[in-house]
Amino acid sequence: MLHVNNFHVNVEDTEILRGLDLTVNAGEVHAIMGPNGSGKSTLAQALAGHDAYEVTDGTATFLDNDLTEMPPEERARLGLFLAFQYPVEIPGISNAYFLQSSLNEVRKSHGLDELDALEFQELLAQKMELVNVPMHFADRNVNEGFSGGEKKRNEILQMAVMEPKLAILDETDSGLDIDALRIVSEGINNLRDPERAFVLVTHYQRLLDYVKPDFVHVLYQGRIVKSGGPELALELEEKGYDWIREMNPA
């Protein structure tokens, strides 16, 4: 589904990703862990197509489409979803309207009929139940006045509505208390599907107690320096990131 080879990405002329390789297949859950500054968020943003992240070398394909020259909205329409680490607030626009516009853009690109307000309302109600967010989320302006935890839950709701093929979750667990983490994790688990893959970018092992990954990768200095199964996350938890730093002297 996702093939990233020798991926090099610059931010403001500083090289952050330095030859990253990653392959994700349908149905798999990959966790990407690493210390601050290792390039985790850069990978997420670059795959979603943020233009501040310049791909200088290597390839990234998603469902056999070259991502490197593709505008972000087309990636989203193909089924690539990014849950933001810091979701923005959108004044004056209700969540329901935002999500309806979003879903309809995706549907249009696939030659499907757009959903009217009533049809969408029904679908939204189902999705809200699926990921356990309260009904008032629909009428509130997108993320405006939301707590940190509410914003993250709103990202999960958006994911549920858009039904992506690949969801990249950028530190969705950061800053959540244990109750919010549990709700967010249940939301993710409810969306797991043999046709859908997840990339969980996280700093902490805690999330992986709730969402079981198939693969764990350690990102350090712009490269994946170690890959393994769920046990790798536990090893990291035990030994700390210094263990990685010692293995990979600068």
């Binding site: 909205e73 989203a76 923005v88 959108i90 004056g92 626009i93 309207y97 958006q158």
Partner: protein
């Protein structure tokens, strides 16, 4: 050259003043008109060197000649013509004036609740006292309005009366070329009353150059609450100048919405004087500008008493070569301690050629006050656009939705549902990408 043009212009106005005087209609308004005419003869039209008019280009208005409609307009207007602007189907009380003159056929006053009196100025005995008391000649256009006033709307709300249904005053300009109307409204809300009014200024013709030169006087009694909505939907070639003067009693509340949707030149001048402690005024505005149009909002709030609160929240969307001006002046004299005042003017520029001049200002002589003022001008940050893109929407769609959201914030604060819905639809249609 300007001198000559202005001279010609005054001559037509003077001729109309003389015609009205000679008609000797035994009209209760004639004494007022005489006083206005005298003031008008003493005053010059505002000059761009005057601070309050520095950015309002009124040269096109001064260069053109506008003949004032004398008596009822010959143009026929039907309820069909007004369908898009009327709120009678929504149950609102409606007063319709065609080219400045009250039309009993088009008005719907049947549902008027007890405790409210609405009358046409031309026939109201009561209105004369009020008009004489309230008029304040802040500029020559106010004098001109007074000198040529023939009709308008007078509303009095009795003490302790809560009016649940909003009253809609609909001024329609049929658009005979180079004609002027001089709308005049007086609204007096008695002690502890509550009242909602919508004033619409609608042009039915986009081609011809016309002038609407209005004056509105509002008195909010002690402990009363008045919410006033002004909607300017003038014709594309029309000029609209209006001065609104509001006096607030103690513990009273004045909420205002100034929504400017169309017109070639629009100036909304709003002067609020808070005369007793506990006064509260909340002034909101939205201006949607494009083409080469000019929209000017000039606000003056005088905290003439201690312990009052005032807020200004104006938003503008500017496209094309359009120009907008915002002047907010809050005056706090030495004795007006414990004043609380906020001013904010946010602008969205959709084009490189649009111009906004924004001046939120404070003049504070008291020392125990809390006053803020600010202005923003900008486009949407790239992070916001990227968020939309990451959800499958292209940048054009993102801009449309965000522009709608920016403007909708002002509309959402309106409590008269049918007005809110209609304005939201208007804003949505104007900016939505589809």
């Amino acid at each position: 050259m300007t001198q000559v043009a202005e001279h010609t212009d005054r001559a037509q106005y003077q001729a109309d003043i003389d015609t009205l005087a000679a008609a000797d209609t035994n009209d209760t308004l004639s004494a007022l008109r005489d006083a206005g005419a005298e003031k008008f003869s003493e005053m010059d039209f505002p000059h761009y060197k005057e601070e309050a008019w520095r950015h309002t280009n009124i040269k096109p208005i001064l260069k053109s000649t506008f003949r004032t409609h004398i008596g009822a307009s010959s143009a026929s207007v039907t309820t069909d013509d007004l369908a898009a602007h009327s709120y009678t189907k929504d149950g609102l009380v409606e007063v319709v004036l065609v080219d400045g003159i009250f039309s009993s056929e088009l008005s719907s006053l049947d549902t008027l609740p007890d405790g409210v009196v609405i009358s046409s100025l031309a026939t109201s005995e009561a209105s004369m006292d009020l008009l004489g008391e309230l008029v304040n000649y802040t500029n020559a256009f106010v004098a001109l309005n007074t000198a040529l006033v023939q009709d308008g709307v007078c509303i009095t709300v009795e003490k302790n009366t809560q009016v649940d249904v909003a009253v809609h005053i609909l001024y329609v300009t049929t658009g005979q070329a180079n004609t002027a109307t001089h709308p005049r409204n007086v609204i007096v809300a008695g002690e502890s009353s509550e009242f909602n009014v919508i004033e619409s200024y609608v042009g039915l013709n986009d081609e011809s150059e016309t002038l609407t030169n209005g004056v509105c006087e509002i008195v909010v009694g002690d402990n009363a609450k008045v919410t006033r909505h002004k909607v300017v939907s003038e014709g594309a070639s029309a000029h609209h100048l209006m001065t609104t003067q509001v006096t607030l009693g103690r513990d009273s509340r004045f909420n205002a919405f100034a929504m400017t949707l169309s017109g070639q030149t629009v100036r909304n001048e709003l002067c609020v004087k808070m005369t007793g402690p506990g006064g509260h005024c909340d002034l909101n505005g939205l201006y949607l500008n494009d083409g080469d149009r000019v929209i000017d909002n000039a606000l003056f709030v005088e905290h003439a008493s201690a312990k009052c609160y005032s807020r200004m929240g104006y938003k503008g969307v500017l496209d094309g070569n359009s120009t907008a001006n915002f002047t907010g002046m809050v005056l706090v004299p030495q004795d007006s301690q414990q004043t609380d005042s906020d001013q904010l003017n946010n602008n969205l520029l959709l084009s490189d050629k649009a111009v906004i001049d924004t001046k939120p200002q404070l003049e504070i002589f008291a020392d125990d006050v809390k006053c803020t003022h600010g202005a923003t001008i900008g486009a949407f940050p790239p992070e916001l656009i990227f968020y939309f893109q990451s959800r499958g929407m292209d940048p054009l769609t993102a801009h449309g939705i965000l522009t709608y959201g920016f403007a909708a914030e002002v509309v959402d604060a309106i409590e008269v549902e049918p007005l809110k819905e209609r304005l939201a639809d208007y804003v949505f249609t104007k900016y939505s990408p589809n």
